[in-house]
């Protein structure tokens, strides 16, 4: 019986656990609670993924109110895939969080980290699973408010200003989404996604729908840090606690990209969103600018965490390019990269967290000699970096392969060439770190390797980078099914 309620439990369990954390307060106990809740969510997501892949789409009416009046949770391959990514990354990073958070956050505030974490998880899972556009807004705000909190708990005082900046930008984005939803409701009288999809074609030509669409795209793009709406991201990622950065980098922007997919292809038709509104050209141009300019900016950063943050904006550019191609292969590439980027950035930020744990700095100059002093940590960083570059036998290669293939399918030579050329910029910024860590002499003083409790989760993600790089058949199949579903082929 309980299996029938899995979609609701997916969101409700972390939601209920969050206030419990505030009540418990004791930091180890809250960590244990958060960890177990996250893993339960992960298993629920896995079972949902299995069900959708083999038995088809699941529709769940919250509180027994049938759609379109009640709120519907609708799980298909696309969002089951995203649910798995989000809860999976959260679970692995939480394993890591205990030691790292205890060092970076004031002991009195540790329980707040886990409260915020669970709320953020709730929000992200909620956005993904729901089939109701207003519900999307609500969950979006839950995840956003909690991530402002999480960012502000970083060790540096600039974390506070970064969180405030994020709050202002995030609220504008969320309010744009709210306006968009309102405009759509004006014209269709419904909030249910499936219902909207049916009713929109009749009113598609009206200015109101066009305006609503524009507000939605702007709002979601802001959340997804699509260039040039990425302004909040570098600061937020740089000053948040290491574990939080790894969690947010692997999940928050991914969920927003998922929302873009949902709106572009399911609620609106791809002919409307990409052709009529000319978003294919706009997104393509923005994506190409993003992969070059942001990678270049990353090359010149002195703070490694900020460097990876800019690299994240560049990587979102690849996903956007994949979407803008509007072909099955392009979408597959975008979705695969969504998964793969979560793995590689997760691994990189965790490795960086290990460095912070021992060296208490992420400035490039302080990494001198880290290769000898923390061999396992730096090895993890190198593998993650290689994956980012797109070296074969890592997940990054799979992403590049499909992106290039998608560009070639459209006979866009220049694009294929730009994709590979931009990944060479990743070589530049990763290699700056490698050279500093391995060739510069370490300053005096004894530094130990990071503890096992930090290394193990890092290496789980590193291993995932390699495993899914060598055996990508399953991920590719999921992504293909998801792409077909979005394009309405399947």
């Amino acid at each position: 019986m309980i299996s029938a309620h899995l979609p609701a439990l997916q969101v409700v369990i972390p939601l209920l656990a969050a206030p419990a954390c505030v009540v418990i307060r004791q930091f180890t106990a809250t960590w244990l609670l958060a960890l177990s809740v996250s893993w339960i969510s992960f298993f629920i997501a896995l079972s949902l993924l299995w069900q959708t892949f083999h038995l088809g789409t699941i529709s769940y009416s919250l509180g027994g109110w049938a759609a379109p009046w009640g709120i519907e949770y609708r799980v298909d391959v696309v969002n089951a895939f995203v649910l798995t990514i989000v809860s999976g990354i959260s679970s692995v990073v939480l394993l890591y969080a205990k030691e790292s958070i205890e060092q970076e956050t004031h002991i009195k505030r540790i329980h707040l980290v886990y409260t915020g974490w669970l709320l953020c998880l709730t929000g992200l899972l909620g956005i993904t699973i729901t089939g109701d556009v207003f519900n999307v807004f609500v969950f979006l705000e839950i995840s956003s408010l909690s991530s402002y909190l999480l960012v502000s708990l970083g060790p540096d005082r600039r974390a506070l200003t970064a969180a405030f900046q994020y709050l202002v930008m995030g609220t504008i984005g969320a309010t744009f989404i709210l306006i968009g939803v309102g405009l759509l409701y004006m014209m269709t009288g419904t909030l249910n996604m499936a219902d909207l999809a049916q009713r929109i074609p009749e009113v598609e030509h009206t200015t109101t729908v066009h305006a609503g669409f524009a507000f939605l795209v702007l709002g979601i793009s802001l959340k997804a840090a699509v260039f040039p709406l990425h302004y909040w991201l570098p600061n937020a990622y740089t000053f948040a606690p290491s574990a939080v950065t790894a969690f947010l980098a692997g999940t928050a922007t991914k969920v927003s990209i998922y929302l873009l997919l949902r709106f572009f292809f399911d609620i609106f038709s791809e002919t409307f969103s990409l052709r009529t509104m000319r978003l294919d050209v706009i997104l393509l141009i923005l994506g190409v600018i993003a992969i070059f300019s942001m990678s270049l900016v990353a090359v010149y950063q002195q703070n490694v965490k900020r460097m990876l943050a800019y690299s994240s904006v560049a990587q979102v550019g690849y996903m956007v390019i994949g979407i803008s191609l509007a072909t099955a292969t392009g979408l597959t590439a975008g979705i695969i990269h969504l998964f793969n980027h979560a793995l590689m950035k997760g691994a990189l930020f965790l490795a960086l967290g290990c460095i912070v744990y021992r060296l208490n700095s992420v400035e490039l100059k302080d990494l001198a000699g880290a290769g000898r002093r923390m061999p396992w940590t730096m090895a993890a960083f190198v593998v993650g970096g290689l994956s980012l570059i797109g070296v074969p036998a890592t997940v990054g290669f799979i992403s590049k392969w499909y992106l290039v293939l998608a560009a070639l399918e459209r006979d866009w030579w220049w694009l294929a060439f730009m994709i590979v050329a931009s990944s060479l910029l990743a070589v530049l910024y990763i290699w700056r770190v490698v050279e500093t860590a391995y060739f510069k002499a370490a300053p005096a003083g004894h530094i130990k390797e990071a503890p096992l409790s930090l290394l193990l989760p890092t290496w789980i993600l590193v291993a995932a980078n390699i495993y899914f790089g060598i055996n990508a058949v399953d991920t590719v199949n999921f992504a293909k099914r998801a792409a077909d579903q979005l394009l309405g082929v399947f």
Partner: protein, 118 residues
């Protein structure tokens, strides 16, 4: 419906733009939050006005009334108001912390202050 007939949307538009303007232009963090509030309020008004049906009454079930305003947007906006309050509260809480950490609530002073670690 003439342009004047849609005056409620003009108000929404005006409030929205003034709110955004304040957020962008002012360097005082508290004023930014105020701007954000105005911006959000405009959306509340927008939602409330789309729920209004001309000639309809409040949606309370009664025998002799056939035309109701649409209650759903009003309910929705209650949620959005709660979210807005939460955002404001969090924003103000952050400002309090920023004030203790940087001894200022002015953006320019904060960003020009020495970027040292605590």
């Amino acid at each position: 419906m003439s342009t004047i007939g849609l005056y409620n949307y003009w108000i929404v538009f005006f409030l929205m733009m003034s709110g955004l303007y304040v957020v962008i232009v002012s360097t005082n963090l508290i004023k930014k939050i105020i701007g954000l509030n105005i911006f959000q309020t405009s959306v509340f008004i927008f939602y409330i006005s789309i729920g209004k049906v001309r000639g309809g009454t409040a949606p309370i079930l009664a025998d002799d009334i056939t035309l109701y305003s649409n209650p759903l947007p009003h309910v929705l906006i209650l949620t959005a108001i709660v979210v807005g309050v939460a955002t404001t509260a969090l924003g103000l809480a952050l400002i309090v912390r920023i004030h203790t950490a940087f001894n200022s609530v002015d953006e320019e002073q904060i960003y020009t202050s020495k970027d040292s670690r605590d």
